[in-house]
Symmetry: C2
Subunit: 183 residues, 2 copies
């Protein structure tokens, strides 16, 4: 993915893909705190100013990177029970990718004291899922936000304590607990 | 709490209390990343070298501070249902204290890429709760670790996204969900 001789006129989507890959790789290698925009830029060969023009802060860059990682899911295709299982498994799989859990935990850490970053996380990362889950599962907003807290929070806490993704046994327990909760 | 003229021969516990209070206050004011040991020391009037002698890294200091915040709970006093409710409410209350959620999310973020810090978090912060819950609730280790992930992860995720502690309605939902799960 790294390239210091990218051709001129490369489409933006390709630059984004390169920056996002370098962001996760750098966070995975150095940890969230030491993964500065400068270091991420150095890993791509793309000018730091170009990156800052597109994403004005490290928080904005990492949030965009997470939005890209957690593609929109299509809910409501199967039964509610199957939708819940698929969503939890998808979340567990994505959080297990190198750098993703650390990126997530890192922006959350920064967001606790940064209202602007919380706004970004809410509108860009959480809202598409909130809306999709409200529509497909036919649940009120408060229920859906609670479920998102439980799924992502539980999976992230496991990564933080053990450094490993949750084993599939426990993912199954999480799914069964939420299927009962939303019955 | 801040004092730059502490008397000589002050007992260690008093120094600890002062350093822990300054740690949470500094994290609350500046965020986890900018709350360096240097800044925490400056907020106390205690020499940085004294702090480093006791807690060799920022991760060790913040972990000790969290252990101090989450005092051992006595479980098994009431019914299992009441024990679960009391434990979740206690966790929610402590995480709502200024600086605590940011400190927690911060060490977790660092721990994802730092096996030594994970070891500290596991043995010093999580193990006393794991053992107490296993004994009082009579549950196997895997169940207890799952419950800890759900409680702390869910509460922290809510703080990360909203910057506010979970409202009591949702804390009640979390309690009821876990009471059913552990029935």
């Amino acid at each position: 993915m790294t390239s210091s001789t990218r051709p001129p006129g490369r489409p933006r989507s390709s630059v984004e893909a390169e920056v996002f890959a370098a962001t996760l790789r750098t966070i995975h290698d150095l940890g969230y705190t030491r993964a500065t925009v400068e270091r991420i830029a150095a890993a791509t060969g793309i000018a730091k100013t170009t990156i800052y023009r597109r994403w004005p802060t490290k928080g904005a860059l990492v949030t965009a990177c997470l939005v890209d990682t957690f593609e929109p899911l299509s809910f409501g295709v199967d039964s509610r029970e199957e939708d819940i299982a698929a969503a939890v498994r998808y979340g567990a799989r994505q959080l297990a990718e190198p750098g993703v859990a650390a990126a997530f935990a890192g922006v959350f850490t920064d967001a606790i004291g940064d209202p602007g970053l919380r706004e970004l996380l809410t509108t860009q990362l959480q809202d598409p899922y909130r809306q999709a889950l409200m529509e497909s599962l036919g649940l009120p907003e408060q229920r859906v936000l609670f479920v998102i807290d439980v799924v992502i929070g539980t999976l992230l806490h496991r990564m933080g304590i053990t450094g490993e993704p949750m084993v599939s046994d426990d993912v199954d327990t999480l799914i069964a607990m939420l299927q009962h909760e939303l019955r």
